[in-house]
């Protein structure tokens, strides 16, 4: 019984979005990309470019991973596995950049 409940928690999945929702997400992704490229040519924003681009990239990443890859709807274990890899990769990137004094 307990084992069954545990499996139920691990494999809990929701229905995937409709094609209309997918098209809406694609519209968001396109608009974000257009916005990114547009502000690239706005000189006055140059000091804030790094953080603006990182934020917009993270937003696009979120939309694709959560909706197109169905992490928002699939079993929690898939999300945990992927986030673990992502966090580890981010840690390695920062460690390398710190090691070679690219960032302080």
């Amino acid at each position: 019984m307990a084992e069954h409940e545990q499996h139920g928690a691990q494999t809990h999945e929701q229905e995937h979005p409709s094609p209309a929702k997918y098209i809406l997400i694609a519209t968001y992704l396109t608009l974000i990309t257009i916005f990114e490229v547009a502000i690239y040519y706005v000189e006055v924003l140059r000091p804030a470019f790094l953080w603006i681009f990182l934020a917009l990239s993270a937003l696009k990443f979120y939309y694709v991973a959560m909706f197109y890859m169905h992490l928002k709807f699939d079993a929690q274990i898939f999300k945990s596995l992927f986030i673990f890899g992502l966090v580890l990769a981010t840690f390695i990137m920062f460690a390398l950049l710190l090691l070679f004094a690219i960032i302080i």
């Binding site: 229905e15 690239y40 390398l96 950049l97």
Partner: protein
């Protein structure tokens, strides 16, 4: 807003209750995060360390790459529409969207070949400087992943003519989709880090 279901995966007789192929795919994608994370970090280490040019801001073409980014993002839409079609047993639509995904992927590769050709013409090869070496390694490995994805999708396309694409086999398409979307989000990061942030002058 929700129509398609993956409920069939919720009651599999496996030790986890999940399809182990899907679990393995997510493990693989997690490991791929480390692979591309290391390549991106290497690019950031070397992009401004070249003794001779060309430097990133002198050669990277934002308008062309923005277009190829749009093409790859559109291919992700085609991929989820293919999966949705398979889940509602619409083989003709599934076939169309799988082929569209592969076609858009091949178009992205065409843009990459054009970009590499232009760079070589303008004197940037993997041997020119450390920027060139790290740039071609990173984007080349990404391109190789896209190529594998296109081959995978085309094999699904031809497979569908012989065996169909029944809803109970939707996981076959979903696995290809997970791989394809991962390749897409890696490009989202590469586009930002290499092309947008990478072309900022070093003092910023």
């Amino acid at each position: 807003m929700t129509t398609n279901t993956t409920a069939h995966e919720s009651h599999l007789a496996t030790t986890t209750g999940l399809d182990h192929r899907k679990l393995l795919m997510w493990l693989f994608l997690a490991s791929e995060c480390l692979f591309f994370g290391s390549l991106i970090a290497t690019f950031l280490l070397y992009k401004d360390a070249s003794v001779v040019g060309p430097q990133p801001h002198e050669i990277l073409n934002i308008p062309v790459t923005s277009t190829s980014t749009f093409v790859l993002l559109t291919s992700s839409l085609a991929m989820v529409l293919a999966l949705a079609a398979v889940q509602r047993s619409d083989v003709v639509a599934a076939r169309f969207w799988i082929f569209a995904t592969a076609f858009l992927g091949a178009t992205f590769l065409g843009f990459q070949v054009y970009e590499f050709y232009e760079f070589v013409i303008h004197g940037l090869t993997p041997k020119t400087n450390v920027f060139g070496a790290s740039f071609f390694t990173l984007t080349g490995f990404h391109g190789a992943h896209v190529t594998v994805g296109v081959i995978w999708l085309m094999s699904l396309f031809f497979y569908s003519f012989r065996h169909g694409l029944p809803a109970e086999k939707s996981l076959d398409v979903e696995l290809a989709g997970l791989y394809w979307h991962f390749v897409d989000i890696v490009w989202v990061v590469i586009f930002t880090v290499v092309y947008l942030i990478g072309t900022l002058p070093p003092e910023v």
